[in-house]
């Protein structure tokens, strides 16, 4: 009854209530919708971006070889492993058969390793350069590289034999194909386009020989059946993951049940775990973020309703006067106020859906299906219930007052300044929540609520301090004759509603500040982690045969290292060892991501190779050494238990040896001279062959023993002269230029060796030998190479890392690693590339990777760099880009969820402005009457104007500053608890940079204060304009 009139009469209030409710409804609907959409997007993008890992790659083995024909099961049998109800979620299966063979052209030895492959529809995927596709059994097409390397030309006959079975056959080449990069068809296991001629260490390897199915079915090849299929991005929903996981997990057992000897090679299980981890992040961050806004919205709604209901007091009194009971009157008012609240809340569903559509097409790239999850309905229902409850609570607080109280225009308040119970409860709860957040170890939602709770507690406390403070300011200003300030402060002091405004503004600006920090810090960390993971703006990877070729090419391309820094990585043979990351310190610190922070100046200095002494160059094909044994006597090493060791016959000779490396090929090798008889005092000239026609460097000298000779020996050997067939003398420098190499095991009992100055250009060696080889290394190569080692790895004195030839060299740990090592963050020893280069060694292509790290300029010139590398036979390609990784992280659930933070900021400001407007809407009349009364008493309009403008501006500006500070402090507490990245099995060694972004904090604080202050100034001006004399006579409200 009269509901329509009531709603129309106070349409602005209804709009405010509906607006706040729309915000609550939008948050309630959007949070689960967005969470769901993010989950689906992450699912879709993960399955799409890592589709090969996600694929089921089934490999059915033939029955074990028992001497007879091996009939493989058809690949279609493998399809039974995929349940019918899941088949629509997968791509159509690609069937195939494959057998590993050794083959050779007819009349030649079958010494080429390769594969004969059939795959459904393969021919349509090939580019035939010569001939045609196979049509009949035993016809094959060979790759153009096999044509080049093995002369597998059209018309050639190939004899192939299965490597696992006795079967095989004669195949005829009918075409030559060019391998194409059709990964989607081949599922990553297609022809490579490469074949390798035989070398000393490996047999020849060919590309695929592709044939018709009948070839492999007819013969007794023992072919494997294959089936490739993959979950289709977009069709697979988050809800399907559990079933997919179960079926994938059980595929082995199911195969056994079907009597199939099949293996499923898939990374789907890991991907599903990743997706689920990201889903958990989304489900954590999004509701927490949106709940803050929604809760703030509820608080604002409660404030708005309190003001609205307070304004209804005369009408409530009229209703009660006419005999309507409190319940009836209250119910009517609840019904009236529920209309905008419910309309707004349910309207928020539409708004939430609209926002979802926008977000879906912008942030999520349409990657999420449109659906109505039950969580949306539940959240909106809950929001509606909360809205109605807030309305009922607000009405109940007033309607229970006696009619005589309702009739009073101003509610009587108790004398003295008291803090309301609700305020005390809020402060206590907020403080308790804050304490819980600070001491709770980051569990639960409390940490994320820290900024709001802190701002609420501080804001309310400030507000209650503000009232007496304003009274004090008012009195002092009055004494000093500053009437405007006195009036404004007095108005603050006598209007307890200002406590609500101050608290709301504090919370709003805290939310804004926190949102800004969360967004900027998350952005920074994604960039930070991407930078560390990639290592530089971009990374080129390449195949390199010799180090000299690599370093020469790099110098030619960018000698000054303006664009690039070369990096060589060498892996240990066992997975538990340390890998060596060889860098150029000077260029690395400029080009690598935060390279300058890898270590300090001293660290970089210590890392670099020694500048002196110069290299000892050796040229020629024979190396001659003139040596004189000096006082070499038998030696019995002491034992711990005092028992004598049974020694063999005394030593008769030692073997001098030298280590050189060729600057042309980079290869390092050991040369040994003929045995040096132990005739003390008698010089002997010894000679051995070397391959240093162009140039080598002598890096080590040593003394070994003849085979089986381990008798103890002590004394000296004078090296009088070293020469080659082209160099009359090779100067060895001073004794200090040589230092003993660390012995394997680091045990001094295995002998010692040292060098002192000897004859001109020679050395005197002092040694104690117990049978092991003893070496001295030129000091331009440290005997233990300084290394920055990732912190988690324990480094002993005998720790070695692999060189470019795969052979370990000892390292000495520098305790000066200041940050994570870019790109290779774990189990890595960073060493100087120049030092390793001086050590020499052939490239071990199985354990050594060559990379060029580029900065932004280098990336801009990447094509030019790749082209120049190609001119020296190095095929390079960009394998990683910083920007790509940042984009990838930008698509993570955490990043998508945190994209909401700007929305929070805007919502926070909007709600604060709504509250300010509401307070004006409900109080402007009495304030205007106050100022009108003052004008009647002679107070100038300029003074009342100043008071009206600054009455709320001062407290609000202070509250905005306080709120911003709370937001910053809250962010400092809460940010470590927000999952910025998907959890991994091992914690990432890349540290999080959670430092406050002060520029953002300052900017947002200034903007917050400016927005709030401007709003209150404008509203105050409006109030003063309405403070006309007629205002005093107003009665009808």
């Amino acid at each position: 009854m009269f509901l329509r009139q009531a709603l129309r009469y106070r349409w602005s209030q209804m709009l405010v209530l509906a607006g706040v409710s729309v915000l609550i409804g939008t948050c309630a609907a959007f949070a689960p919708w967005f969470s769901r959409a993010v989950e689906q997007t992450v699912t879709t993008e993960t399955l799409s971006g890592q589709w090969i890992s996600a694929a089921w790659q089934l490999d059915g083995s033939p029955p074990p070889f028992q001497g007879g024909p091996a009939k493989s099961s058809p690949p279609e049998e493998l399809a039974k492993l995929l349940p019918a109800d899941l088949q629509p979620l997968f791509s159509p299966p690609a069937y195939g058969m494959t057998v590993t063979v050794d083959w050779g052209l007819k009349g030649q030895k079958a010494a080429i390793e390769g594969k004969v492959v059939w795959r459904d529809g393969y021919c349509a995927q090939l580019v035939l350069t010569v001939g045609r596709c196979p049509r009949a059994a035993n016809e094959v097409v060979a790759s153009s590289t096999d044509l080049k390397n093995f002369n597998a030309a059209v018309g050639a006959t190939i004899k192939a034999a299965s490597t696992q079975y006795a079967g095989g056959g004669m195949l005829r080449v009918v075409g030559v194909y060019q391998a194409d990069d059709l990964a989607t068809y081949w599922f990553g296991r297609g022809p490579s386009g490469h074949s390798l001629p035989a070398s000393e260490t490996r047999p020849a390897q060919s590309d695929f020989l592709l044939t018709e199915r009948v070839t492999l079915e007819k013969g007794t090849w023992g072919a494997h059946s294959t089936l490739d299929t993959r979950p289709l991005p977009g069709k697979v929903r988050g809800d399907d993951l559990d079933q997919l996981r179960q079926v994938t997990d059980e595929s082995g057992a199911n195969a056994a049940e079907l009597n199939l000897s099949a293996q499923n090679t898939t990374g789907l299980l890991g991907l599903i775990d990743t997706i689920k981890a990201e889903r958990r992040q989304a489900a954590t961050i999004i509701p927490l973020v949106m709940v803050q806004v929604a809760l703030f919205g509820v608080v604002v709604l409660a404030l708005a309703l309190a003001a609205v209901v307070d304004q209804r007091r005369p009408e409530l009194a009229v209703s009660r006067l006419r005999g309507a009971g409190a319940r009836r009157t209250g119910t009517a008012l609840v019904a009236e106020l529920c209309v905008p609240v419910l309309v707004g809340t349910f309207g928020g569903v539409l708004a939430g859906f609209g926002v979802l559509l926008i977000v879906r097409s912008t942030w999520l790239d349409g990657g999420a299906p449109l659906e109505l999850p039950w969580t949306v309905l539940a959240a909106v229902g809950l929001a509606a219930v909360v809205g109605v409850a807030v309305v009922a609570w607000s009405v109940r607080a007033v309607i229970r007052q006696p009619i005589s109280t309702l009739l009073r225009r101003i509610v009587p308040r108790r004398r003295g300044r008291t803090v309301g119970i609700i305020d005390v409860v809020v402060i206590v709860v907020a403080s308790a929540g804050l304490a819980g957040a600070l001491t709770g170890g980051g569990r639960g939602p409390l940490p994320v609520l820290t900024p709001s709770l802190l701002a609420l507690a501080v804001g309310l406390a400030f507000a209650h301090l503000l009232l007496p403070a304003a009274g004090l300011v008012s009195r002092q200003a009055l004494r000093r004759g500053r009437l405007g300030l006195a009036l404004g402060a007095l108005q603050v002091a006598r209007r307890p509603a200002v406590t609500r405004i101050v608290a709301v503004v504090a919370v709003a600006t805290a939310l804004v500040s926190f949102a800004g920090q969360a967004s900027s810090v998350a952005d920074r960390n994604r960039d930070f982690r991407a930078g560390y993971e990639i290592g530089a703006d971009a990374v080129l990877a390449m195949e390199v045969n010799t180090f000299a070729n690599f370093s020469g090419a790099v110098d030619r391309i960018d000698r000054d290292r303006n664009w690039l820094t070369p990096v060589v990585l060498s892996y240990p043979s066992n997975s538990s060892g340390l890998r060596a990351l060889m860098i150029e310190p000077d260029s690395f610190r400029r080009i690598a991501f935060r390279g300058e922070q890898l270590t300090d100046t001293d660290g970089f200095r210590a890392l670099k190779a020694p500048a002196e002494p110069p290299a000892i160059e050796v040229r020629g094909n024979r190396l001659t050494i003139t040596a004189t044994p000096s006082n070499l006597v038998p030696y019995v090493p002491p034992t711990r238990d005092g028992e004598a060791i049974e020694s063999g016959p005394p030593a008769k000779a030692v073997v001098l040896q030298a280590t050189v490396f060729s600057q042309r090929t980079g290869s390092r090798y050991l040369v040994q001279f003929p045995a040096l008889p132990l005739d003390n005092g008698k010089p002997v000239e010894l000679s051995t062959r070397i391959d240093c026609g162009k140039s080598c460097q002598l890096i080590r000298l040593g003394v070994a023993r003849e085979l089986g000779d381990s008798a103890g020996l002590r004394g000296g050997i004078k090296i009088d002269k070293v020469a080659t067939d082209t160099q009359p003398t090779v100067p060895l420098g001073k004794g200090l230029d040589w230092e003993p190499m660390q012995q394997p095991g680091g045990d001094a009992a295995q002998g010692t060796i040292s060098a002192t100055n000897g004859p001109a250009n020679g050395l005197t060696l002092s040694l104690t030998s117990t049978g092991a080889a003893l070496n001295l290394q030129n000091t331009r190569i440290p005997s233990a190479v300084p290394a920055l080692v990732t912190s988690e790895f324990p480094v002993s004195q005998t720790q070695t890392v692999p060189g470019i030839d795969g052979i370990g060299f000892p390292v000495q740990k520098l305790d000066q690693l200041k940050s994570a090592v870019p790109r290779y963050t774990e189990r890595t020893a960073v060493v100087d590339l120049e030092t390793v280069r001086r050590l020499g060694g052939s490239v071990a292509d199985t354990s050594t990777d060559f990379e060029i790290w580029l900065n932004a300029d280098g990336l801009a010139h990447a094509d030019q760099i790749i082209a120049e590398l190609a001119t020296v036979g190095i095929t390079a390609s960009i394998v990683d880009r910083h920007s790509d990784r940042v984009d990838t992280y930008g698509r993570s659930a955490s990043a998508l969820a945190l994209q909401l933070t700007p929305v929070i900021g805007i919502a926070g400001w909007a709600l604060a402005i709504i509250v300010l407007l509401l307070m004006i809407v409900t109080s402007w009349r009495s304030r205007a009457q106050d100022y009108a009364s003052l004008r009647i008493t002679g107070v100038p309009a300029t003074t009342t104007g100043r008071a009206a403008r600054w009455e709320q501006t001062g407290p609000v500006a202070l509250a905005a500053l306080l709120g911003s500070a709370c937001g910053i402090l809250g962010a400092h507490v809460a940010l470590p608890m927000i999952p910025l990245f998907a959890p991994t099995a091992q914690p990432s060694p890349i540290p999080l940079d959670l430092a406050i972004n002060w520029s953002v904090a300052l900017a947002l604080s200034v903007i917050s204060v400016a927005i709030m202050a401007t709003t209150t100034l404008l509203l105050g001006t409006g109030v003063n304009r309405r403070a006309g004399y007629a205002r005093i006579r107003e009665e009808l409200s």
Binding site: L321, R322, G323, A324, L407, L1036, S1037
Partner: protein
């Protein structure tokens, strides 16, 4: 429709506030017959509005008896009071706007006031009520377009929306010009005569008081005098006390001894004792 009688005996009301209590009424005894039109006079703070609110059940007596028709106010529950206000007692508060819902027309305001009336009770049509107060032609006009006098008439119409047995009106003629005042007064008189409704109204205006058949003056929470057709009478209280009229009280300062004598005609004479007599 018959008016309701008002009977009070020793009615006391005390406002309690922090630090001190204020006795607004100190043992008032009044009797108003059904259908009577009575004005309550007295200075500000005398207790007129308190008495009116007690009669309307808006306040609860601190002591004494207050009976409106068959309703014993002091012992009624909140629900019973609501029912009483819904049908038997109409109230017009001081300040016409406080009686009205600002967004409703006079017609709808009357209808709004009839909402809580008990089922089965005959309710007049809003138009009939508005016609009675002379506002029938403005039934559908928004309040904002009415004159102050019409708004006051509307407030009166709302007060009698259910044709209660008692109308309590707090200064219904204040802040009105003479013409409007007379219209309101005429309307109230018409209501009283046409419906037999008992009317208790508060006024400060001597001209209004002069036309009322009966007035009761309250001073300091007690009945000071009563007027009948323009003539003032002192009223003997139930405890035998006699508040003097102001002009007499000026002559007889507190502590004055009076000799009370009766004449053969039945008159009572109060004679102050001379100083000499006392000497």
């Amino acid at each position: 429709m018959t008016g309701l009688a008002i009977n009070t005996t020793g009615l006391v009301h005390i406002y309690r506030s922090q630090g001190h209590d204020v006795a607004a009424l100190s043992g008032i005894g009044i009797g108003v017959r059904p259908g009577e039109l009575v004005g309550l006079l007295g200075p500000s703070g005398a207790g007129k509005s308190t008495l009116l609110q007690l009669c309307g059940g808006l306040l609860t007596p601190s002591a004494g008896r207050l009976q409106i028709g068959e309703h014993h106010i002091a012992t009624m529950t909140e629900a019973e009071l609501d029912r009483m206000r819904a049908g038997d007692v109409g109230i017009v508060l001081q300040g016409a706007g406080r009686n009205l819902i600002p967004y409703l027309t006079p017609h709808d305001n009357v209808r709004y006031a009839q909402r809580a009336a008990a089922r089965g009770r005959p309710i007049p049509a809003p138009q009939e009520v508005l016609d009675l107060v002379g506002l029938g032609n403005q039934a559908r006009v928004p309040l904002a377009r009415l004159t102050p006098g019409q708004i006051q008439l509307c407030a009166v119409a709302v007060g009698i929306a259910t044709f209660p047995g008692l109308l309590l009106a707090d200064e219904p003629t204040s802040q009105l010009d003479h013409r409007a005042r007379d219209e309101v007064l005429a309307a109230i008189s018409t209501i009283n005569k046409a419906t037999g409704m008992t009317v208790l109204l508060i006024t400060h205006d001597p001209e209004v008081a002069a036309v009322l058949p009966r007035t009761i003056t309250i001073r300091d929470g007690r009945i000071a005098s009563e007027g009948r057709s323009g003539e003032e009478f002192a009223v003997v209280a139930t405890d035998g006390s006699l508040p003097l009229p102001p002009h007499v009280a000026e002559l007889l300062p507190p502590g004055t001894l009076l000799r009370v004598t009766t004449t053969d005609d039945g008159d009572v004479r109060l004679s102050p004792l001379d100083q000499e007599d006392t000497a």
